[in-house]
């Protein structure tokens, strides 16, 4: 074993070990093709969806004209695919460990599973932030391109653009963190991914249009309102465009999503994460 002899690293302090764990999870995320595939999909869907919406702006069943605050807002805050796919990314980060049986290697390196879940959640939040911001950047590019093509002036101030950008960043980060927790609770990747789409596209639209007072507190809706989308603006089907109600303030929506993440993580840490890896 002479060829293998290296100085044995001294044991790091606990907080440094956790930082290392987060870096490991970030490196996993960056070295997984699925991450880039999902990001490309979310950007592609945003371009397609927003170009379609922009082309219909000012028409009978389309959004308001792009030379109005409302019309341009609808387009530039329409990068919701980045938020939905951030949640999917989170699911894949955690459930992928069981799909590919890599949980064994992960827990051999870090036997304290609660810390692994925390590290995955933080790494996921970083990835989700990129998805949120990426979606926003593309949505802005599409919206502003159509606005410029029509020769309109930009009806939205720089402050609002910044706020919505921050909202996309926070919303993407927290939806991805929630996705990590969901993927830890529901180890079947297929079921969890389908669940994310059904929840965000069907259930929230349905519940939000039937029980309007509840709508601002639904997680996907809260994330999209953080990102500047009006209530109902991110819904699909019958719930779309039903805009009555007041969205949660930025801090309240953030606190709600953080609370959902923490409660979910606590439940996962005490149940599914403890299960035997056989």
């Amino acid at each position: 074993m002479t060829a293998l002899a290296i100085p044995v690293a001294p044991s790091s302090p606990r907080h440094l070990r956790f930082t290392r764990l987060v870096r490991v999870e970030m490196l996993k995320l960056a070295s997984t093709r699925m991450t880039y595939g999902l990001l490309a999909t979310s950007l592609g869907l945003t371009v397609f969806w927003n170009a379609l919406e922009s082309s219909q702006a000012g028409k009978a069943n389309g959004p308001a004209p792009l030379n109005t605050y409302s019309g341009l807002r609808t387009i530039v805050t329409g990068g919701v695919w980045g938020l939905i796919l951030a949640a999917v990314l989170g699911v894949i980060i955690s459930s992928g460990e069981f799909r590919h049986q890599t949980a064994t290697a992960t827990y051999l390196g870090a036997p304290h599973r609660g810390r692994v879940l925390a590290a995955k959640t933080i790494a996921g939040a970083a990835g989700g932030a990129v998805f949120g911001l990426g979606g926003y950047a593309v949505a802005c590019a599409v919206g502003l391109s159509f606005t410029a093509a029509h020769g309109y002036r930009i009806a939205i101030g720089g402050g609002a653009f910044f706020d919505w950008g921050a909202g996309h960043l926070v919303g993407g980060a927290l939806l991805c963190a929630i996705g990590v927790v969901v993927g830890s609770l529901v180890r079947s990747q297929f079921a969890a991914v389908i669940g994310v789409f059904v929840w965000s596209i069907i259930l929230e639209s349905l519940v939000g249009s039937l029980f309007k007072p509840v709508r601002p507190y639904l997680p996907y809706t809260a994330a999209t309102t953080l990102a500047g989308t009006p209530l109902g603006g991110s819904s699909f089907g019958p719930g779309r465009g039903v805009t009555s109600g007041v969205p949660l303030p930025f801090a309240a929506a953030t606190a709600l999503l953080v609370a959902i993440t923490l409660v979910g993580a606590l439940i996962a840490a005490r149940t599914t994460v403890r299960r035997d890896i056989t």
Partner: protein, 236 residues
């Protein structure tokens, strides 16, 4: 160097008792074979030793500590449990970089261990395209990346060609010669007989025999004959 100590280990899965009061020791500087028929409880025992499965009773310790209490587990123990447990879209080099970071090992170790296991030319290939033998070699590279004191290997010769089996034998013997502790489960008794110094034989989750191969085969019978005799007696 580290000793493996298993004391009164029990694992029940519902009504099934997979491991039933198992106790044994593995000493440093030896390669110890962990033998038993299919379903004897070998893999479950190894997973309890590595903190992946929670024991119903008893303790499994490495150098006096449960695996989860080891401050830097990858520096203490290298393990190979299943050949399929890699993300298929990742390259071997990317996989090992992650493991090196997890172990806080020098990144230059990645190339060292790829060379060691004979995968230097395949480092930039995706693992999904690897043969079973290549996956076993990558698993071994993963296990030794932090230069651990203990190796715990579950059927590491699966999928290896004769040259690979011979290489593995040399690796394990060399590791033990430098004072390392090796516990290796296998059903290839002829191969085990050539590699190990001692054996732990279990059946139905219970210890059947433990000791140096030389003692167990002192009567002149081969290890294979001794194994079948002991496990058949235990089954009666």
């Amino acid at each position: 160097m580290a000793t493996i100590q298993v004391r009164g280990l029990v694992k029940r899965f519902g009504a099934v008792t997979a491991v039933d009061g198992l106790s044994f020791n593995v000493q440093p500087g030896t390669v110890t074979g962990f033998l038993g028929p299919n379903g004897a409880g070998k893999t479950t025992t190894l997973r309890m030793l590595l903190g992946l499965v929670a024991p119903s009773a008893g303790t499994a310790e490495i150098d006096g500590r449960a695996y989860r209490d080891l401050p830097e587990p990858l520096h203490a123990v290298g393990a190979v449990l299943e050949a399929a447990s890699f993300y298929p879209g990742r390259t071997a080099r990317a996989h090992l970089r992650i493991q090196a970071l997890a172990a806080e090992a020098d990144p230059s170790r990645v190339d060292d261990v790829l060379e060691l296991v004979g995968l230097a030319d395949a480092g930039d290939r995706r693992i999904g395209g690897f043969s079973l033998g290549m996956r076993q070699r990558l698993g071994l590279a993963t296990a030794v990346i932090a230069d651990p004191e203990v190796l715990i290997l579950d059927e590491p010769a699966n999928g290896l060609d004769p040259e690979g089996v011979r290489w593995l034998r040399g690796l394990l013997r060399g590791f033990a010669a430098e004072g390392g502790t090796v516990l290796v489960s296998s059903h290839l008794l002829a191969e085990v007989a050539q590699t190990v110094d001692a054996v732990v034989i279990i059946d139905h989750g219970r210890l059947v025999a433990q000791g140096p191969v030389a003692e167990l085969t002192a009567s002149g019978a081969g290890l294979e004959d001794v194994f079948f005799q002991l496990t058949q007696e235990a089954s009666r």
